[in-house]
């Protein structure tokens, strides 16, 4: 690897210590905000949905918004796949059909895709942030948009982290020719301005949330790989690795038990920053129009 990058291996880490490293009010604030975003993303249908949270209709209780929330959790959701979508009648129809019925609605009783009567409404009691050009509730779209952002951020960084850790560990641990090839590969991918490469790839493979996640994951792993490589190289020379060798530990044992734990810390820090970068990239991509706006993608996912 080039001299400057070799010396600057810890630059990304330094960035974390210089910006977020301080245990200050700011850090706590940031944590609260981040948790709120994840909370909103996970519970989106409980906050804004076109179906009630709890309802009783014609003698049976149902929880359509809760069911829809669970349905969107990856593994768990597949068990509920068979249950039919519940359609709750509108207020007037319901009262005439069943006077005993009741419903508790989410705070925002609109989904992100339901077309309201009027487009381009300004904010009101019913639509807190108004409606967009196609008459959809903006706040509901915002809430469900965080889902997409969080999903893109987390999944793409899990992918990037996996690639980065493997490439970095292999390069750092085996050294020599292997290191040279891996380092060149890292350098090559780093040569492309991220947005240029992503846009180019997106232009070929087309739209879709999975595409966005894959492309971001496959391009944003380089800094993680460099950090892991640097840590592993440093650790390889350490006394405790010498000691492990002296009592006959195998290469894999040394790599997994002694070197990777030390390298994971920096990798996780880089991944945390990567989540933010990925969300920004995703927003930029949708802004440029390579793929449709966030809530549409959500719709696409829902349909799939």
């Amino acid at each position: 690897m080039s001299v400057a990058s070799r010396v600057g291996e810890d630059i990304i880490l330094r960035r974390s210590t210089s910006i977020a490293g301080k245990r200050s009010v700011l850090t706590k604030f940031a944590w609260v905000v981040a948790l709120c975003v994840v909370f909103v993303a996970v519970l989106a249908p409980l906050l804004a949905w076109h179906q009630p949270i709890v309802c009783k209709y014609q003698g049976t209780y149902d929880f359509p918004a809760v069911v829809d929330t669970v349905r969107q959790i990856p593994v768990l959701g597949s068990y509920l796949e068979k249950s039919k979508p519940f359609r709750f009648p509108t207020f007037d129809a319901r009262k005439t059909l069943d006077p005993d019925s009741f419903a508790i609605w989410p705070p925002i009783p609109f989904g992100p895709i339901e077309l309201m009567a009027d487009a381009n409404l300004s904010s009101s009691r019913a639509h807190w942030l108004g409606t967009d050009d196609r008459g959809r509730d903006v706040l509901a779209r915002l809430i469900h948009g965080t889902r997409v952002s969080v999903r893109v951020g987390l999944y793409s960084m899990l992918l990037a982290g996996a690639i980065g850790i493997v490439v970095g560990a292999v390069a750092g641990f085996f050294g020599g020719m292997c290191d040279w090839v891996c380092s060149r590969f890292i350098e090559i991918v780093m040569c492309f301005p991220a947005f240029f490469l992503i846009l180019a790839v997106m232009a070929w493979i087309g739209e879709g949330l999975t595409g966005v996640i894959l492309v971001i994951g496959f391009t944003q792993w380089t800094s993680i790989a460099r950090l892991v490589r640097a840590e592993v190289v440093r650790g390889r020379e350490a006394d405790f690795v010498m000691a492990a060798r002296s009592y006959g530990a195998s290469n894999t044992h040394i790599l997994i038990r002694h070197l990777l734990p030390g390298a994971l810390g920096p990798a996780v820090v880089a991944m945390t920053f990567g989540v933010a970068d990925a969300i920004l990239l995703e927003a930029g991509l949708s802004w440029v129009g390579v793929w449709r706006s966030v809530a549409d993608a959500f719709v696409g996912l829902d349909a799939a």
Partner: protein, 325 residues
């Protein structure tokens, strides 16, 4: 030292070859093989069969893979990317027109941000822990968290539309060609202000805390204390001893910033109708103008490659400790 320089320059060759290979792989990510080209199996990409045929013809995809690769490499090395699908002009010519505004923007704003950040960070480092230090640092974190295009929209709205202080569309005014030289410069500068701010702001938010941290760690070093003990003036200690050490890591950061800024230019150039590479990329994607897209991807990578090379050479020149690695 010269041996290292030569070695480092030669090292760009495999990287450049890698860049070409990677773009080749990207092209072959296109859906559909010759067998399925006639089917409607291209639905995902939104590519029509006609477009697909034209693409296959352009990249001569019917030839064996190694022949394709050889042709692609031979052309890429000469920076010959064929002709644009949209208007039939040579891609290299189109890129050449659009590269100047982007380079002006990228390197101009990086330079301004560097100078400002060094001055502000030096100011803060000597006032570590005071209210002004905390205030600016917090501001940096806040600014860092805001996406540049939000900054752009705000700036356009406040200074462009509301106050109407600066123009916010394009590189120059319509009557540019009839202006005197000084007016031309002023016109160009006026058009650059808002978009420039969108670049400089986030750069400052990133650079100030970084340089400040670097300065603080150097200020703690024994050799700084030793320099004071020699009887040197504060200025001489700062310029002779502290800054040369504190700015070394900045060189490396420079290698990371250039691709980030170039990548970020796409959204902002579109927003400000800046006739640069980012906007060209945006337009080309809208038109599915694949030769231009791929040409631009390679050119941008080559620019970054060259910047990294220069940064590395500068580093080796500036830091004696890593010279003969």
């Amino acid at each position: 030292m010269w041996r290292y320089f030569l070695k480092r320059v030669l090292l760009t060759v495999p990287t450049f070859v890698g860049v070409i290979l990677l773009t080749f792989v990207v092209i072959h990510l296109a859906p559909g093989s010759p067998a399925t080209a006639d089917d409607a199996g291209l639905g995902d990409s939104g590519m029509s069969a006609v477009e697909h045929q034209r693409l296959r013809a352009h990249y001569q995809m019917d030839a064996p893979l190694h022949v394709q690769l050889a042709r692609w490499t031979a052309r890429a090395v000469r920076l010959d990317f064929g002709r644009s699908f949209a208007n039939g002009r040579p891609v290299s010519q189109i890129i050449a027109e659009r590269i100047k505004p982007t380079l002006l923007l990228t390197f101009g704003t990086i330079l301004i941000a560097l100078v400002l950040a060094i001055v502000i960070a030096s100011f803060l480092a000597t006032r570590c822990g005071r209210p002004i230090d905390k205030l600016i640092l917090t501001g940096c974190v806040g600014l860092y968290a805001v996406p540049p295009y939000i900054v752009g929209l705000l700036l356009i709205w406040i200074f462009g539309v509301w106050l109407n202080w600066f123009p916010f569309a394009g590189l120059t005014s319509d009557e540019f060609s009839s202006m005197t030289t000084w007016r031309k410069i002023a016109d160009l500068a006026g058009h650059s202000v808002l978009i420039g701010l969108c670049f400089v702001g986030p750069l400052l938010a990133y650079l100030i805390p970084f340089i400040r941290a670097s300065l603080l760690s150097v200020l703690k070093e024994d050799y700084v204390r030793a320099a004071h003990a020699k009887g040197l003036s504060t200025r001489r200690v700062m310029f002779g001893h502290v800054l040369p050490n504190a700015l070394l890591p900045l060189l490396t950061v420079l290698g990371l910033i250039v691709p980030a800024v170039m990548g970020g230019s796409v959204v902002l150039e579109v927003m400000f109708s800046w006739p640069g590479m980012g906007r060209l990329l945006y337009e080309s994607i809208g038109r599915r103008d694949y030769p231009v897209i791929m040409g631009m991807t390679i050119v941008s990578a080559v620019i970054v490659l060259l910047v990294t090379l220069v940064v590395d050479l500068l580093y080796a020149w500036a830091d004696p400790r890593v010279r003969y690695v």
